[in-house]
């Protein structure tokens, strides 16, 4: 059924209006603001300053550090969650007794509030906390994870991976079910092992989905705020400050609105590029299978 223009218009109008008001307006607001000095703490000299915010941003080592730390955070989170997720997906599809309960258990990390996840793991990663105790059992003298520069960022990235690995596992497991069984049965008769089966048959078949899951995971880890906020608050120093934390500091702690708007705009541009890529990819992968 192809619907009439009138029907389409009236069905979409409310949503379109909302997106327009609460999406386009803030974007225009940011664009206007990023050419101004708008400091609420040092109001002297507030007003339009052209591209000064961007030159300041380009020369701000802390911004580049935050960009790099964002990359590390997302990189570690993906490097853990994708392979481990694939492994768990294989485990799910073995359909061992109890796999139904196993799936339910996997749901739990995903539905917890990220902030609560952060709070729990802050407790667990505390010096002489649960993790240190577990590592002590096997004779490892654990560092104080959250108060060492560099280590704290990676620690929170692992926690992010903990929360979202089940998501990867469940999506990949569903995709694996669609891989034609007859080809694999034949291959098994030819005596290939499980690893060869995964590498040569299963993964190539679900490659488009894997890329999509990777992109989704990238976007989500890139915008992660809650866990970093509660676990390290960007610290020690600024060593675990990713772009969202950096942006939050300038906007809501230093109240340096003009500069924060410029940062926000740059982040939006980065996001848009990745978004375009996702949509292009989504269409391409759809075109292949339909």
């Amino acid at each position: 059924m192809i619907t009439s223009k009138k029907y389409t218009f009236f069905s979409l109008a409310p949503s379109a209006l909302i997106f327009l008001v609460v999406l386009v307006f803030p974007t225009l607001y940011i664009i206007n603001l990023m050419f101004k000095k708008e400091s609420l703490t040092k109001p002297a000299g507030n007003g339009y300053i052209g591209f000064d915010n961007f030159t300041r941003l380009a020369g701000d080592e802390r911004f580049w550090a935050a960009l790099g730390q964002s990359a590390i955070f997302s990189g570690v989170s993906l490097a853990v969650s994708i392979p481990v997720g694939i492994a768990i997906a294989m485990l799910i599809n073995r359909r061992l007794v109890g796999h139904g309960l196993f799936r339910i258990i996997l749901i739990v990390p995903m539905v917890l509030a990220p902030l609560v996840v952060g709070a729990i793991f802050r407790f667990m990663f505390d010096s002489n906390g649960f993790i240190s105790w577990v590592l002590g059992l096997v004779g490892i003298d654990a560092p104080s994870f959250l108060s060492l520069p560099g280590v704290s960022l990676v620690t929170v990235a692992f926690v992010d991976a903990w929360q979202w690995t089940p998501f990867v596992a469940i999506v990949v497991a569903a995709a694996m079910e669609t891989v034609p069984q007859n080809v694999m049965e034949a291959a098994r008769l030819d005596g290939i092992n499980a690893w060869q089966e995964l590498w040569h048959f299963v993964l190539p078949q679900i490659r488009p989905l894997l890329v999509l899951v990777g992109l989704i995971r990238f976007m989500d880890s890139f915008r992660e705020f809650d866990k970093l906020f509660i676990m390290t608050n960007g610290g020690p120093g600024t060593s675990s400050e990713t772009l969202p934390i950096y942006l939050w500091r300038f906007a809501f702690q230093y109240l340096d609105m003009g500069y924060a708007a410029a940062v926000g705009f740059v982040v939006l541009v980065i996001i848009s590029i990745v978004c375009t890529f996702i949509v292009k990819f989504f269409k391409a992968s759809k075109g292949v299978s339909e």
Binding site: I107, A251, S289
Partner: protein, 291 residues
């Protein structure tokens, strides 16, 4: 990757179940892995519960004494604090948000599913942008806007933000569910003399009922768990459950017991709804991209 081929459910397209097999011994390490993964998922939650039920002197005790008798002090303290007000706010705000988002996304999702051409792609692209952008980027202008029109710390303000925040998920999800309904059924409805609107209400919507429930559950969970906007846009009157958590973190020490007691109460609805709606969770969390 058509919507028919990949399903995030165990119900659809079940692979043949393997019963007893000579290679049973080989399954031992697999069961071992399953138990380890389950423990990794559950132990953090168990620790939260255990500490919530432990007296203050033992909070930092390692190893954790799992069999120590429970004390409900932390829960009593939390229930006597304004926390309940925030929990109730979470219910009200998540419920209203869910209702509005589901109605809007069912309408919009249906229209999009029946639409062809460039405008559809453009619309879906913009929608996706709201899914992908960090809350902090929109937080700044939304905060300035909300404070200039007096909507900070009001239900209206935070619900408005949450509608936008969730509408993308809703539209993508409902769009996907409506695509699964064959067009012939709707055409038959038109032949029977229903209007387009009538077809939507009496034919398509009932057929997409599971999609509506799935969307509602996901929107509820995401709204319930959202922290950043609530943190920035609410203070007391409209504060939600996540915003109360940082309050337990003092400069020198953390009130672990009450914080975990509050967390326990706060995670119950998402965990229950999440388990009930597990079939659709992956589809929703991927913004409808993976189905």
């Amino acid at each position: 990757m058509s919507s028919q081929s990949i399903r995030s459910t165990s119900a659809a397209a079940p692979a043949p179940r393997r019963r007893f097999h000579p290679r049973t011994l080989w399954q031992v390490p697999q069961y071992g892995m399953m138990i380890i993964v389950s423990l990794v998922c559950l132990v953090p939650v168990a620790i939260m519960l255990r500490i919530a039920l432990t007296p203050q002197v033992d909070w930092r005790q390692m190893p954790i004494d799992w069999f120590q008798p429970a004390t409900w002090k932390s829960f009593e303290q939390v229930l006597a604090s304004p926390f309940l007000h925030s929990l109730l706010n979470s219910f009200i705000i998540a419920l209203i948000t869910t209702l509005i988002v589901v109605v809007l996304s069912a309408m919009g999702g249906h229209a999009l599913a029946r639409m062809r051409g460039k405008n559809k792609d453009r619309f879906l692209f913009v929608v996706l942008g709201t899914r992908m952008g960090p809350a902090v980027v929109f937080g700044l202008p939304i905060y300035l806007l909300a404070s200039s029109i007096g909507l900070v710390d009001t239900y209206v303000g935070i619900i408005a933000v949450y509608i936008v925040y969730n509408l993308a998920f809703g539209i993508w999800m409902m769009h996907g569910f409506f695509l699964d309904i064959p067009g012939e059924v709707e055409e038959a409805g038109l032949m029977d003399g229903l209007s387009e609107w009538g077809v939507f209400r009496r034919v398509s919507l009932p057929m997409a009922a599971s999609g509506v429930i799935a969307t509602a559950t996901l929107v509820f969970i995401l709204t319930w768990n959202e922290f950043f906007y609530a943190f920035v846009l609410t203070q007391r009157t409209a504060s939600t459950f996540p915003t109360t958590i940082p309050g337990y973190f003092g400069a020198f020490q953390v009130d672990w017991g009450p914080m975990f007691a509050a967390s326990t109460l706060g995670i119950l609805p998402p965990v229950i709804f999440g388990i009930l709606a597990r079939k659709w969770l992956a589809k929703g969390l991927s913004g409808g991209l993976v189905d």
